[in-house]
Amino acid sequence: MGASDFSKLPHIGESLRRKEDYRFLTGAGNYTDDIDLAHMTHAVFVRSPHAHANIKSINKAAALAAPGVIAVLDGPDVVDAKINGLPCGWLITDTSGQPMKEPPHPILAHGKVRYVGDHVAMVVAETLEQAKNAAELVEVDYDVLSAVVDVRDAKGGAALHTEAPDNHCYNWAIGDKAAVDAAFAGAAHVTQLDLINNRLVPNPMEPRAVIGSYNRASDEYTLYVSNQNPHVERLLLTAFVMGLPEHKVRVIAPDVGGGFGAKIYLYAEDVCLTWASKKLNRNIKWNCDRSEAFLSDAHGRDHSSHAELAIDKDGKFLALKVHTDANLGAYLSTFSTAVPTILYATLLAGQYSTPQVYVEVDAWFTNTSPVDAYRGAGRPEATYLIERIVSRAAFELGLSQDEIRRRNFITQFPYQTPVALQYDTGDFHACLNHANELGDVAGFGARKAASQAKGLLRGIGYSSYIEACGLAPSNVAGALGARAGLFECGEVRVHPTGSVTVFTGSHSHGQGHETTFAQVVAARLGIPVENVDIVHGDTGRVPFGMGTYGSRSISVGGSAIMRALDKIEAKAKKIAAHLMEASDTDIDFANGEFSVKGTDKKIPFGQVALTAYVPHNYPLATLEPGLNETAFYDPTNFTFPAGTYICEVEIDPQTGVTRVDKFTAVDDFGTIINPMIVEGQVHGGLVQGIGQALMEHCVYDRETGQLLTGSFMDYTMPRADDFPEFKIGHECTPCTTNPLGTKGCGEAGAIGSPPAVINAVLDALSAVGVKDFDMPASPNRVWSAIQAAQ
């Protein structure tokens, strides 16, 4: 079935209330820390208090002698057990043709620690309190080394790894440099911009948690883990790190309290608990404290960039040139290397028909927590850069932010960008028009005057983003360095009485798949949504899967389910044809009924399901009984959600307090299955994006590498009273490359919003002479910028 037919089915586009809500609202959710296995022991990690130090010795004696302690394991124990380090999932090839520098990433430090929070030892005890007390008794003698923290200090700083003597991981480039240089030579105007995309801590509300369990009788491991992609976790754990056969390891990611990227990766704790569960033959739980999460979860963003935009006399973009330094942290986290390259540089054409784009990226190691994908993963960094420089060009040329975008929008699709991607569809003018209307831009002047009368500065900021979801196809990604496939798997199991269980490789940790995916299946089969259950998050039940990240679930996971439904429908038609003594090519299926073309003969879906399992009147010679189909779907292209966001801020120049007064978001997500859920995703993304622009800021001390924002007391999390009510609108150009027409909606809010806010801040502050500003727009930073401009 194609996207056009699909969008017309019943239930598609209905805001059905979520099937999963009852358990969450009544306290019956089942998160990893809620699981209590027999005779559970507890693990606590001894972490490095230094950003960079050699380990001279570790004395475990006192800890081992403490009450309740079962084991204290450290780096040498890992080496003895022949457990490998954590793998990086994406090989970037340097412009020199050499592979990126890929130093070992040990699960417990061996000889050296490289960031505050690095794993030094694991203590396992009968109770959590005993483990915590014993962890205090592990004596580690450090020889402290100087630390490199800021990406701009990495070159020439003390080397973290012998494999990367200058802390340089790779230099990578895309685009035609000579053509870009030629375009700049003929430009009427060049806009330049230096910017920093500030480091963030993802902070899903459920901290990471792991339970390792081993069954000696069957030689099987079970790992419960708060994770977004249990099959990927298992693959990395078994094939790359521990050398275990996959069929002996079951990974269960039960209810997961938010992910935002931070729970994609295989972490050291996951491996340690799996290993120790067999070694000690005990069930072991580790539940991350929030303070530990700040130290040890993969962080996001942290780019420092210089960009130049060449423009002709009519305000048309001729070329964009970008150099970015990306901070990868101390080690290469699972997908870290793809973020500032494949997921960033390829998006730098934005919504514009800029003929030439050239991007060069240097990636560096520093003594900070590893940096990896965080809600948006490269696309927020790209969008922030393009949308900032476009608005700056507008300010410089005296054009409105609206007008400069209109003059440069891509209008013909498919569109091949100069940086590899091919956009299949979109209508950028429609989103911009809709946003202008919804955001009452016509009334901005009056609102600005009203603010001025109160001594406040009002500004308006635009951001017209495009992003790429559903990273694909596998063979192209493989050629670009991906070490995994990027397909998805879905199994549709029709039960004899016609109800359905779907097993999906996508993982829901807030996205509402149990409802949206059920809507897809119910719509296709013409059965009530209540008759469809979705199972996810368990390698013991789901055939395979690549999980949830990059807003891929509906477009890739949903399409796999669609393919399985195609197979179900094809087989069911054969059964129906047999029952109605017709040819299967004459069978129609609609609204849950099979009918014979040109006759009034029809039978319901339930009767065909029952016949498949009670095959008394059945073509057994040519058709297997049963109605259970699995499909793997590998997309032919990314999907390209796009939209325009408009922000209005009001700033008190006396205090620097910046208030978002209005925020309008118009997105084109293609076909929308459940608008309520989609809008919820947009709201959440907006708060994370506006949070980055206004308040969130991860800060390490530049000399010592100590994390200065290590708790919710120091790292400002967005709260309910920081925001107005958002105005949300949609345009729809269905995706042309998947059977649903969907594009993905999970990250758009976080991708599109930061430049809208900062462009608004700069528009407001232009009245007091401020020309440049880096996130976040906290009162102190805004006030300081105003003072500096006076």
Partner: protein, 155 residues
């Protein structure tokens, strides 16, 4: 030490070390795992329960301090037959939850908020929710849920 309290209407005795937090007693001793722990600085509110009718962050209170108290957790909010409290129903109706982790504390805070401020407007609700963090919803639908829940509670 032994602490007697009433939890969700039932008299219980918890035998716990003096440094046991109320949230530990609820989760680990009484296996009421609907109350969650999202931070270690009393900032996130995921552990919010009612103690003698008022919303309290149960990570910030010793079990011993609950001696003789009436404690209500999320598990005690719905009716015995499973029918949700008007605030729970409002959260579902308004899509005021996504991953569900902050939700139980958010609902307990919201019930207390509406008991004390039944007529709170949108801006006041946003301010009164200051003690609870949510990373998924962007708060917009939580605010709507609290408004609808207040209507249900006042009915």
């Amino acid at each position: 030490m032994q602490v007697q309290m009433k939890v969700n209407g039932k008299a219980v005795t918890v035998d716990a070390a003096p440094n046991t937090l109320l949230v530990q007693a609820l989760r680990e001793h009484l296996h009421l795992t609907g109350t969650h722990v999202g931070c270690d600085t009393a900032q996130c509110g995921a552990c919010t329960v009612h103690v003698n009718g008022r919303a309290v962050k149960s990570c910030n209170m010793l079990t011993a301090q609950a001696q003789g108290a009436e404690v209500t957790t999320i598990e005690g909010l719905a009716q015995a037959d499973g029918t949700m409290h008007p605030m729970q129903a409002a959260f579902k109706e308004c899509h005021g939850l996504q991953c569900g982790f902050c939700t139980t504390g958010m609902v307990m805070s919201a019930v207390d908020l509406c008991n004390r401020h039944p007529q709170a407007n949108e801006g006041e609700i946003r301010e009164l929710l200051e003690g609870n963090l949510c990373r998924c919803t962007g708060y917009q639908n939580i605010v709507k849920a609290v408004q609808l829940g207040a209507v249900g509670m006042n009915a």
